[in-house]
Symmetry: C2
Subunit: 458 residues, 2 copies
C-alpha cells in the first residue's frame, strides 16, 4: 500500500486523501445503512485531471473505486464494504457556466441538488428535479441513478434535463457527450447509457442541464377516494384536462402515522382507504374545481379540499411528504417499484391479497407517485417482533413482490436504482439476454472492472 500512496501523492495533495476511521465510515456508506462501510481510503478530487489521474492510478494498482456523491441513495450503490477507494465529489462543486440564451447550466458533479434549484430560481428559471433528500444529494449522483422525484408526471425523470455529460471511463478516456446540443444524430447515444449506470461505466466530471420557465403558483387538492378503480378514473379525468405536476397516492394507514407527529389536523371529513394529493397550475383552478365537482358526482372522490394559500398547499403536502419520517421508528421494510399506470389497481389488489394472506399481522403502508406508476411499499415491524426475525420474514417479501412485478412487466426499481440491494433480483425486471448485453457493455467501458464493482450485477 505504501508504494501506492507514494504514487498517489504525485497526483493529489495530502489533504485530498483520508484514511481517518470516521471518514472511512462516513464516506463508505449511504442512507440505506445496510452494508458495513469498510473502504481503504477516501479521495477528494478537485478537477477532471484529478479524476483521470485517480483512474489511471487505480488501474495500475489494481484497486476498485466507489464514486460518492451525497450518499442519499437507498440501494447501497455508494456503499464501499470491501476495501475499495471512495472517490468523493464534494469538492467538485462549482457552477461552471450559465448560458442565458439556452437557459442551460453547466456544473461539476458535486453540486448539491437544492443549490441548482436555487441558482435557477435566482435567474427566474426552474430546475424541475425535486425530492425529499434534495438538500443533501449531489447532481452527479442524481444523474447516475436517473433521479425521479415528485414532478416526473409533468417534467419526466432527470434524463430529460441532461444536455451534456463529461465522463471519464474505466479505461481513463474522457468523453464529452451531448455537448449541450439539442439535436444530434451523429452515432449512438452514449450519453443516455451513462445516465442511470450508477457509476459503473464512468465517473462524471461535468454536467450540462436544461433549465426551464418557472411554473405558476401551485393549486393543491387533497381527495379521499373510495377505491382503486375510482382512483384511476380520477387520474384519467384530471390528467386529460389539467397540466398536473403531481398525482400522489397514500393510504389511510399512512395518514394515521403522519398525524401522530403532526400539529396539522387532517382536513377531510369523509375518511377512506385511499387518499390522493394532486397539484396543478393556479390558473387552471377554476377548471380543476369543476372537475372536482364532476368527480364527486361520478363517485370518483368522496371528499376533497383545495389549497387557498401557499401555506395551505404546504400543509396538504405535509401529509404526503412526512410519511417516510413518520414510519421510520417502525424499522420499515421498504421497496420502490413501478408498473404501467393503468395496471396499478390490479397490481396493488393482488399484492394486498398476498400480503394479507402471508403476513396477516404486518402493517403494510403504500404510497407513491401514482401518476408515474411508481409505488413505495413500507411494511412496519410489529412492535414486539425481534428485528432480526422481522428482517428474515421480509426477505421473502422481496420474492413475492418481484414475482408479481414480473407478472405485470414492471420494474423492481422505479427510481432508486439497483446498487447492491436489488442486484439479486434484477432478473425479475431484465431478461437473461438483457443482462448478458449489459455485462458486455460494462466490459467495454470498464474492462478491468475498477468502477463501482459488484453494483447492479457481479
Amino acid at each position: 500500500m505504501s508504494y501506492k500512496i507514494e504514487q498517489l501523492k504525485q497526483i493529489l495533495k495530502t489533504d485530498q486523501m483520508s484514511i481517518e476511521p470516521n471518514a472511512l465510515k462516513t464516506y463508505g456508506n449511504d442512507w440505506l445503512e445496510l452494508y458495513k462501510p469498510s473502504p481503504s481510503m477516501v479521495l477528494f478530487p478537485e478537477s477532471r485531471q484529478n479524476v483521470e489521474d485517480i483512474i489511471k492510478w487505480a488501474t495500475e494498482c489494481n484497486l476498485s473505486l466507489v464514486p460518492s456523491g451525497g450518499r442519499t441513495g437507498l440501494s447501497g450503490a455508494a456503499a464501499a464494504q470491501d476495501k475499495e477507494v471512495v472517490v468523493a465529489f464534494e469538492r467538485m462543486n462549482q457552477i461552471l457556466e450559465f448560458n442565458e440564451i439556452e437557459q442551460s447550466l453547466t456544473v461539476q458533479p458535486g453540486v448539491i441538488t437544492k443549490n441548482i434549484q436555487g441558482w435557477a430560481e435566482e435567474k427566474s428559471l426552474y430546475f424541475p428535479l425535486s425530492f425529499a433528500s434534495e438538500g443533501s444529494s449531489q447532481i452527479g449522483g442524481n444523474v447516475s441513478t436517473n433521479a425521479g422525484g415528485v414532478h416526473v408526471i409533468r417534467y419526466g425523470s432527470l434524463r430529460k434535463w441532461v444536455l451534456g455529460l463529461e465522463v471519464v471511463t474505466g479505461t481513463g478516456n474522457t468523453l464529452s457527450l451531448g455537448r449541450g446540443l439539442i439535436k444530434n444524430t451523429a452515432g449512438y447515444d452514449l450519453m443516455n447509457l451513462f445516465i442511470g449506470s450508477e457509476g459503473t461505466l464512468g465517473l462524471i466530471t461535468e454536467i450540462t442541464l436544461q433549465l426551464t420557465k418557472k411554473p405558476e403558483l401551485p393549486c393543491v387538492f387533497l381527495f379521499s377516494v373510495p377505491d382503486l378503480s375510482a382512483l384511476m378514473n380520477l387520474y384519467h379525468l384530471f390528467k386529460s384536462k389539467l397540466p398536473l405536476r403531481a398525482f400522489e397516492m397514500f393510504t389511510s394507514l399512512a395518514v394515521e402515522h403522519v398525524q401522530k407527529n403532526s400539529t396539522v389536523s387532517f382536513p377531510l371529513k369523509e375518511k377512506s382507504s385511499y387518499y390522493v394529493l394532486t397539484e396543478t397550475d393556479q390558473s387552471t383552478q377554476e377548471e380543476a374545481l369543476s372537475l372536482f365537482e364532476s368527480a364527486l358526482e361520478k363517485g370518483y372522490v368522496l371528499d376533497g379540499v383545495i389549497s387557498e394559500s401557499s401555506r395551505q398547499a404546504m400543509e396538504l403536502w405535509s401529509f404526503r411528504e412526512n410519511i417516510s419520517e413518520a414510519l421510520s421508528p417502525h424499522f420499515p421494510y421498504k421497496n420502490d417499484v413501478s408498473v404501467r399506470i393503468s395496471l396499478l389497481p390490479d397490481f396493488l389488489s393482488e399484492m394486498n391479497q398476498i400480503l394479507n394472506r402471508e403476513y396477516p399481522h404486518f402493517e403494510v403502508v403504500w404510497f407513491g407517485h401514482v401518476g408515474d406508476g411508481n409505488l413505495h411499499i413500507n411494511i412496519l415491524k410489529p412492535e414486539k417482533m425481534e428485528k432480526e426475525f422481522f428482517l428474515k420474514k421480509c426477505e421473502k417479501v422481496n420474492d413475492i413482490l418481484f414475482s408479481v412485478i414480473k407478472k405485470y412487466k414492471g420494474s423492481i426499481s422505479a427510481e432508486h436504482g439497483v446498487g447492491l440491494l436489488k442486484k439479486p433480483y434484477l432478473h425479475y425486471s431484465c431478461s437473461k439476454e438483457e443482462l448478458i448485453y449489459m455485462k458486455a457493455i460494462k466490459k467495454i467501458f470498464d474492462p478491468k472492472g475498477i468502477l463501482n464493482p459488484g453494483k447492479i450485477f457481479n
Copy 2:
C-alpha cells in the same frame, strides 16, 4: 442462392419475398437517391416471428439485412447497394393498443407517421412528431434516426416520446425494452441505445409511444430581423416569455426562390437578409404582441406580421415549408448540422465568410430550426455549371463545413442521421474513443455484422 430460398420458403409465404427488378430498385434506395440500389431480394415480414426467423436465416446463410421503412431518409441509411436483403416493414402497419389512461399507443414499426398523428387526433390527443415527409415516413424509421422536425423546441426529439421498444438483435434475441414504464432504474438504459442507431443494432418490431394533450390553436409571427445578433436577442426575448412551438429562420435568398413558385405575396414591407417564423399558443397572443412591440423598439426586428386565421398561419408557414421544394430544381448540395443555440451567429458568420471567399459564385441558402441550434445549408448549382463539376466542388464544402462544426463542438448530423452519406465525416463530431466504444457496442448486439452493415461506420 436456391438453397437459401428454399430455407426462406419455410418461414415466409411466397408473396412475402420479391426479386422483381422494380421492387429491388424501389426498396433498395432512399430519398437521397445518391447510391445505386442493388439488393438481392426484398422481404416483407408480417410479424415479430417473421423478423426473428429472417434474422436466423440471414445468420445461417451469411447474408446482410437492410431494414426499410418509408425510405424518406436523406443519409443513405436505407440504401442497399451491395446485394443485401432488404427487410421492408410496410406490412407490419397495425395499431396494436391504445391505452386511454396512459395516453399511450403501441404500434408496429411500419405505421406511417401521419397515421399516428391522425389516430391521436381522433382520440383528442396529440403526437408531436411532425416534418415534411410525415405522409410517407414510417414510425420504425423515425425511431431509428431519433427524428426531429419542426416542434422540437417545445416537444423535444422523438426519443422523449418513446415509452417502449421491442427489438430483435443481430443474435436473434427479442428484447422488450422500456415496456411502457414511466420510471425504471433497473439496469442500463438499452432502449435509448437503440433509438437513433439506424437499424445497426436490432430490428424494431413494436413501439409504444406517449401521446399528449392537443395544443391550442397556433398564433404565427413572421419577422424580418436586421442581423444574426438581433435574431438571437429576439429568440431569447420570445423563448423566455412564451411557450414557443417553433422558431425557424430563413434567409432572403430562400424567400426569393419560394416566391418564384408561390401565389402568396410576401407580407413584409421591410426586407432584410434574415427572416424568422415563430409559433406560439393563441392564448398568449396578447403577450406575444407586446413582446413584438418591445422587439421593434429595441431594433431586434424591422417588421413583422401575425396570423389572424388558420389560413393566414398556413400562408406564413408556406414561406418556410416550401423552401426545399423551391430549391430542388437547382440540384442543391444539402447539409444538416447543429451547434449550441448561442453559438449560431458566430458559426453562421464564419461559414458565410469562408463560403464567400472560396465559392464567390455559389448561391448559398441557409434555413433551419434555430430554436434547436439546427441549420440546413443548401448550395445551389450555378445554372451553367456541369453537374459533375459542381458535385466535386461541393465535396470540399463538406470538409470546410465540418471543420467549422468541429471547432464549435457541434454535430455533423442534427436530425438526418449518418447512414452512408456522413460516415466518412463522423470523426468531426465523435472522438476516436467514442468511435471505438460505438463499434464495440455494435459487436455486442450484432457480432456477425448482418444488420445494416457499413452504415454509420465500417
